[in-house]
């Protein structure tokens, strides 16, 4: 074990996979010589050279199109879209081309690729560089969606995403690049679609993703200390495949379900989980399902307003403590 930052874990996972598989290549804006605007890919250019680690022009459609063309002809590309907000300029390539190709061609076209992207708020970058868009991705048939909450998961889940035969959107939380934790040495792979029970508890199930996970864990500590409530925190890790069974198992035990989402309210991923719970766990529920989300508003830049919008530890504590 070594203590790695979230950003170091990105480079560690990529290096691990690039060492074991020549088919893995990497492209994006400022990712090679500069090591990425978030410095998450430092060292890869030096180790793997200019044929495998490539700087591109500011051409998001070309970046993702090239990744797809390479994937369908036998390679395993990783593409970086600097900020997830920029998916809006290349969403056609993701949705109409990469995600649909296998189905439309009756299984012929393979698109084993990973698109990494800095996602989410907290960096005071304003509305065009701060959005959480994991719910856009979840709405598209044919995409796997991963969003790790700590450096160890970054390493294990990114390795699994690179090995996965399906296209994966891998959302890195911008505000967490500097956070550190113990990360297993050597080859480390966490299967996609397996949620992590970050905190065990018996009274309330709190389902969270990415940056919302440490907040939910912190809230669970406060709820225990100040309200005597035992919360179970489930870190989803992936939205697709969705580990519904872990949620079901937990809610059968606790009878209460809260989701904590950074994406804006409407059609956020928590709505899908709430609907599954309403259909399949209705008789197990002791209280209404509760969603804690960013309101349906573009994010403001200034800290006081951004902090008001993105779910906070206080908001989680208040909401959960006031549940029936």
């Amino acid at each position: 074990m070594a203590k790695l930052s979230y950003r170091e874990a990105v480079a560690a996972a990529m290096a691990q996979e690039m060492r074991r598989d020549d088919r893995v290549i990497f492209l994006g804006e400022d990712v090679a010589k500069a090591g990425g605007v978030f410095k998450a890919t430092v060292g890869l250019y030096d180790e793997f050279g200019p044929l495998r680690v490539r700087d591109t022009p500011i051409s998001e459609q070309a970046i993702l199109g090239a990744a797809m063309g390479a994937a369908m002809t036998g390679l395993r590309p990783i593409a970086e879209i600097m900020f997830s907000d920029f998916f809006a300029v290349c969403w056609d390539t993701v949705v109409n081309e990469i995600a649909k190709a296998r189905y439309m061609t009756n299984g012929q076209v393979e698109t084993p690729l990973v698109i990494r992207s800095g996602n989410g708020g907290g960096a005071r970058f304003g509305a065009q560089h701060s959005q959480s868009i994991e719910n856009w991705a979840m709405a598209v048939p044919g995409l796997k969606v991963v969003a790790p909450s700590n450096a160890a998961d970054v390493k294990g889940l990114l390795a699994a995403s690179i090995r996965d035969p399906d296209p994966v959107l891998f959302f890195e939380q911008k505000s967490m690049y500097g956070t550190k934790c113990e990360v297993p040495d050597g080859e480390y792979v966490i299967p996609l679609g397996v949620a992590n029970v970050a905190v065990e508890g018996t009274d309330v199930t709190i389902v969270a993703l990415a940056a919302m996970v440490p907040k939910a864990i912190k809230a669970a500590e406060i709820l225990k200390a100040e309200h005597g409530l035992s919360c179970e925190v489930i870190d989803l890790r992936c939205l697709v495949p969705l580990d519904t069974q872990s949620i079901i198992k937990s809610v059968i035990k606790t009878g209460r379900l809260v989701t904590v989402e950074e994406n804006p309210r409407l059609c956020g991923w928590g709505a899908e989980i709430a609907s599954i719970a309403a259909e399949e766990l209705f008789w197990n529920l002791d209280a209404p399902i509760t969603r804690i989300t960013t309101p349906h508003i573009p994010l403001a830049s200034v800290d006081v307003l951004e902090d008001l919008m993105i779910p906070s530890v206080d908001r989680i504590v208040k909401t959960v403590s006031e549940m029936d």
Binding site: A62, G65, G69, A70, M72, N106, Q108, P141, G142
Partner: protein
């Protein structure tokens, strides 16, 4: 109309190769004509975008490409797929939504694809496939295979961003890709000149990407063959990308039963005189050693082929319900949760 330049005849064809080129064009012509007839008989579901009038481009590239080269094309891609070995039965079956269709009805007229033949897809979002073709070329370059990607698209496609992104990308990475703009003078219903800043939508933009402007007569099969060979050989030998603008014309409307009334009668008449299939046939008859009987036998073969394919497609049932739920994921299924 701008004048197209004739390339030098660096790659001479012998008579049997010329007959083969004619056969390819004739196949495309009857296949497309049959697709039209079947549509008019209400046997084709959805839509079709046909390529009558544009056969010389598809056939010449079909002749010039190697087996493991990659073809990327648009919804108007039946000819291009057929030239990469997709059978008439597979095309007509797909158009008619039958189980025998190339994609068992899951793709339809606009998405013909046969990966094992290098037919890497027909794309119906304008311009989307230009970067994808660059990616396949990048992959070939990285793997050191000498494969070339050829990417076909229309004049209208030169006005979308991906055209520009892909050309810049292909040039800076010196990719083995050939971009072929089939300028048929119209986007859907609007003349291309009404919506484009330059007279030659592709050729006039070439220099912006460090490429040579190439404008050729897309209805002359020999010219197209020389042009194709030159570009493909250049790409194969590490010379990088080429952008070709081939002047041509749709004999029919944009899609379905579009009568194309927006086109001036005189213009249509002029272009009908430049029918690539009719003219190549006539040209071959002037060449020593090629006889009417040779051509007639090709015409008969091709007619028999399309009749057989039509029967096979008509006799095939629609696909079974269960394939609606296959092949979303690599494991063959459609599960998104446990």
């Amino acid at each position: 109309m701008a004048t197209a330049k004739k390339p030098p005849e660096k790659y001479p064809l012998d008579n049997s190769e010329r007959l083969d080129l004619y056969r390819k064009m004739a196949q495309c012509r009857v296949l497309q004509q049959r697709a039209y007839d079947l549509f008019m008989q209400n046997l084709v579901k959805g839509t079709t975008h046909l390529g009558q009038g544009q056969e010389a481009i598809a056939a010449a590239f079909g002749q010039a490409m190697k087996e493991d080269d990659y073809t990327f094309c648009t919804y108007r891609g039946h000819n291009h797929n057929h030239m990469r070995g997709v059978t008439m039965t597979e095309v007509l079956g797909e158009l008619m939504g039958r189980d025998i269709g190339l994609l068992r009805g899951k793709g339809g007229s606009m998405h013909l694809t046969k990966v094992e033949n290098g037919a890497m897809g027909s794309y119906a979002i304008i311009g989307a496939h230009l970067p994808i073709a660059a990616g396949a070329a990048w992959s070939a370059q990285y793997r050191g295979t000498e494969q070339v990607a050829v990417c076909f698209f229309g004049d209208g496609t030169t006005n979308i961003g991906t055209f520009h992104e892909a050309l810049n990308f292909a040039k800076i990475w010196n990719l083995p890709v050939v971009y072929v703009c089939e300028n048929n003078a119209y986007m859907e219903y609007t003349p291309i000149g009404d919506v484009t800043a330059v007279p030659n939508p592709a050729a006039d933009r070439a220099s912006a990407y460090g490429l040579e402007p190439i404008l050729v007569d897309g209805n002359d099969a020999d010219v197209m063959y020389q042009t194709a060979m030159t570009a493909i050989e250049k790409a194969r030998n590490g010379g990088g990308p080429t952008l070709i603008e081939a002047l041509t014309y749709r004999h029919h409307g944009h899609s379905r039963a579009d009568p194309a009334k927006y086109r001036p009668e005189e213009e249509v008449k002029e272009w009908m005189k430049r029918d690539p299939v009719v003219n190549y046939r006539a040209k071959l008859l002037t060449i020593a050693g090629i006889k009417e009987a040779d051509l007639k036998s090709i015409d008969d073969d091709v007619e028999a082929m399309v009749n057989e394919a039509t029967e096979a497609a008509k006799n095939s049932p629609p696909p079974p319900d269960e394939i609606a739920f296959t092949d979303v994921w690599a494991d063959g299924g459609a599960q998104w949760r446990n």
